[in-house]
């Protein structure tokens, strides 16, 4: 252990009630009614009692204090481990700290509130009502801001609460700086609950789906591991990291005082892994010579440059781009945006380049009811992937997806970091003889793009005046209200059947944040709030469409939205059920030939219906609804957006069709 460490062996041997030592440190003012022993005399100056050398020192009445590592309880001090930790977090440019309070991290939490929030550069402490909400907020924040925010959990039970949200972030390759408290010295735990809330290896429970973890043994160790955690988190593939931070390390003073404050380790600039030159040249050669190349973008764009570079590549090739909807990869109204034609395009493609696909197998194969694969591409076509995920494989959770045996070249690298070299190679290798054909291909694709928009508009008219409200109507009404704003859709589009991508114009990296990663329910509402938090300082209008079932996993997030005054429009897509499961339940029941009459028993959210507006109001959020007449929707959205533009959250409950 280093001298700056808080290792228990180096701690002064002071009894648990430590009055004498406390007096020696001049801290008795904080001690209520100290008992003066026979060996002490009262100090006439009003200070601590003085030892009387003429009398024998008292024998400790019980060996209790000797049984445990000591703690200078009752002593005030002017430096503390928590403040140092705050400074380390600030050195990492961490702006926010989200937490549901817990006593194993009070030492750091107090430092964030009373030191970090009051000194520059100011951090902001955010209070959540569930640890899952803290992680999901950090998840959404990172997807807008491109960097981690901090969140911290009580040990064991807090981390257990957080775990599903951590899995979402891990599968979505999102950086989050996480900490959990841990009282490592067993003799310093409270009886009963202190032991129930302790583990020998706290991070073990989420180790399968975090990128890295550590349990620092000293403040210097904390500093180094915090910087390392940030670095690992922000090296592609991004991911959540976790530090289990000893509660005493947070709470106690820096050993030796301020003079012994450990240094803050330097963070180097990170250079992400780019593809090997030969493989990139070969990819470029295949692409420029292809008759029907297709670009597929999964979790590709991780910085604002990502979208810009994919546009450059697609335009250089006049190749269609299909989007996995995980990121804002490509402008939705660019003529080469062809996602809704993906099956058709893959069917005729001779070269596929998949950029950070979340499921490479699923891009090129469909499955039937019995799990049989049906190839979606010609067997003679060439398939290439660029993916950083395979650089950090793990064995338990199956986010790796089914093995894609039909790919010819797997470039194990970060796709965005590889893009500059690939663009350069494509331009360099492009033969003049191909230019006319490529231009013609672009014109064909542009026409197909327009045809697709018109097809979507023609499809949107069906059920236009329906109640429950149709998704085309809902998304069109919302677009009508936000199109003139600097908007940001901070929710997935899956449950609205991707009508936003079909109809809206989106051309900025922050226009859309994609989905949860692992489809763990309860993500949308807190992630939307985290993204809205990131948008707040940029003055953007954040809007989210969240499921009724999803919101009810953690409705306390509405209180956080109101309490923290984060401007965000929540639209509750209230289909009054767990809709995906309704469909699956029907399929199972029908295979057993029992009919679907009783599906509502398992999957509906009714009897009674939930009054989401009433609930939101009780939590301090402006709300309207339930709205089931489509004619009422536009005016309600307009009123709610006016509230959001004033800096407050708002919620509209829309009784809507399944998808």
């Amino acid at each position: 252990m280093s001298v700056d460490g808080n290792d228990r062996a180096n701690r002064p041997n002071v009894g648990r009630r430590g009055f004498l030592k406390g007096a020696a440190l001049g801290g008795v003012a904080a001690v209520a009614a100290p008992v003066v022993s026979a060996a002490q005399t009262a100090n006439p100056e009003g200070g601590p009692p003085k030892a009387d050398p003429s009398k024998p020192r008292p024998v400790a009445p019980a060996p209790r204090s000797e049984e445990s590592t000591v703690r200078p309880e009752g002593v005030t001090y002017s430096s503390c481990g928590g403040d140092y930790m705050v400074d380390v977090l600030r050195s990492l440019n961490i702006e926010y700290f989200a937490a549901t309070p817990g006593n194993t991290f009070m030492g750091l939490h107090e430092a964030v509130v009373n030191y970090g929030m009051l000194t520059a550069p100011n951090m902001r402490s955010l209070t959540t009502m569930h640890e899952e909400a803290s992680v999901a907020m950090a998840h959404g924040y990172a997807k807008i801001e491109g960097k981690p925010m901090a969140c911290m959990f009580h040990t064991t039970v807090g981390l257990q609460h957080a775990s599903m949200a951590i899995y979402n972030a891990y599968c979505d390759r999102v950086p989050i700086f996480m900490m959990t408290g841990a009282t490592i010295d067993a003799t310093r735990r409270f009886n009963n609950v202190g032991w129930l809330h302790a583990a020998n290896d706290t991070p073990a429970m989420v180790r399968d789906f975090t990128k890295w973890d550590d349990t620092p043994g000293s403040l210097r160790h904390f500093g180094e591991s915090a910087v390392r955690a940030w670095k690992f988190s922000m090296t592609p593939p991004y991911g959540p990291t976790l530090l289990a931070v000893d509660s005493l390390l947070q709470e106690d003073e820096i050993p030796g005082g301020e003079a012994k404050r450990p240094p803050i380790p330097k963070m180097p600039r990170i250079s992400p892994p780019a593809g090997e030159e030969g493989a990139v040249k070969e990819t470029a050669r295949l692409l420029v010579n292809a008759e029907h190349p297709v670009l597929f973008a999964g979790r590709y764009a991780r910085t604002p440059d990502g979208m810009k570079m994919l546009v450059e590549l697609a335009e250089a090739l006049q190749a269609p781009v299909c989007d996995g909807y995980n990121r804002m990869n490509f402008p939705w109204r660019h003529p080469l945006y062809q996602t809704r034609r993906q099956r058709v395009l893959l069917n005729q493609a001779d070269v596929l380049l998949a950029l950070e696909p979340s499921d490479a197998f699923g891009v090129t194969n469909a499955l039937d009811h019995d799990g049989n694969a049906r190839p979606l591409m010609s067997p003679t076509s060439r398939k290439i992937s660029i993916s950083s995920v395979e650089l950090t494989p793990k064995g338990n959770y199956q986010d790796v997806q089914r093995y894609a045996s039909d790919y010819d070249l797997a470039i194990e690298a970060d796709a965005e970091a590889t893009m500059p070299m690939l663009i350069e190679e494509v331009r360099r290798q492009m033969p003049a003889s191909r230019k006319a054909a490529i231009e013609a291909r672009g014109q064909t694709l542009a026409k197909a793009h327009l045809d697709e928009i018109n097809r979507a508009k023609a499809g949107a008219v069906y059920g236009w005046d329906d109640s429950p409200i149709s998704m085309p109507r809902l998304t069109s009404e919302l677009w009508n209200q936000i199109q003139g704003e600097d908007w940001s859709l901070v929710s997935d589009t899956n449950f609205q059947s991707r009508w936003q991508q079909a109809l809206w114009t989106a051309d900025k990296p922050y226009r859309y944040i994609g989905g949860s990663g692992a489809s763990g329910v309860g993500y949308s509402s807190p992630a939307a709030l985290g993204a809205a938090l990131a948008n707040q300082k940029h003055g953007r209008l954040s809007v989210a469409i969240v499921g009724d079932g999803d919101l009810m996993f953690g409705p306390g997030i509405l209180w956080t939205a109101a309490h923290e005054r984060i401007p965000l429009l929540y639209i509750v897509h209230n289909n009054r059920g767990y809709h995906m499961e309704i469909m699956q339940f029907q399929a199972i029941a029908n295979r057993r030939q029992r009919g679907v009459d009783r599906v509502e028993i398992a999957c509906n959210i009714d009897n009674p219906f939930i009054n989401y507006a009433g609930m939101a109001k009780s939590l301090g959020v402006y709300a309207e609804g339930p709205i089931d007449n489509p004619k009422d929707l536009g005016p309600a959205l307009k009123r709610a957006i006016a509230v959001v533009k004033k800096g407050e959250p708002a919620l509209i409950d829309v009784v809507a069709q399944g998808r």
Binding site: A366, D368, H369, I453, N454, A456, K457, A458, G459, A460, V461, Y462, G463, W464, D466, P468, S470, M471, P472, S476, E477, W479, N480, Q483, Q496, S497, R498, W499, L503, W504, H579, I582, M583, Q586, A587, N590, R591, Q593, R594, G595, V596, D597, V599, Q657, G658, R659
Partner: protein, 121 residues
């Protein structure tokens, strides 16, 4: 869902409630009103929307111009992709005919150009 009326009775009812118009030659007649009830009670709307308009990736558009009847009933009895199986035990041929009639009876929607919100896209 068991069909509650026999075909002859259904035909009698159809004379009152109106038979679907413009059916393809091969499509049998069906009871539109009963088909509407079935479309909800048998859960068709969950994936295809209340008007059979289709809900993106969960279910294609069925109305107002559904696929030919033979393909319609084949997709129920031997479904492809994510379509749930509907055997004759849970949905009789008569019920299928009624639902098909309901799909055929759907009025044609107005043009996107006539809807101000859509004309802006």
């Amino acid at each position: 869902m068991q069909r509650s009326i026999i075909l002859s009775a259904a035909l009698a009812v159809l004379s009152l409630t109106g038979t679907a118009q413009a059916q393809p030659a091969a499509a049998p007649a069906g009871n539109v009103a009963h088909g509407k009830t079935l479309f909800t009670s048998t859960g068709c709307y969950q994936c295809h929307g209340y008007q059979g308009q289709g809900l993106g990736t969960t279910g294609p558009k069925l109305a107002p111009t559904p696929m030919p009847y033979e393909a319609f009933i084949r997709q129920l009895r031997k479904p492809r992709d994510a379509m749930p199986l509907y055997t004759s035990k849970v949905m009789s041929d008569g019920d299928v005919q009624d639902i098909y009639a309901y799909m055929l009876s759907m009025p044609k929607a107005k043009a996107a150009a006539d809807i101000p919100l859509l004309s802006r896209f």
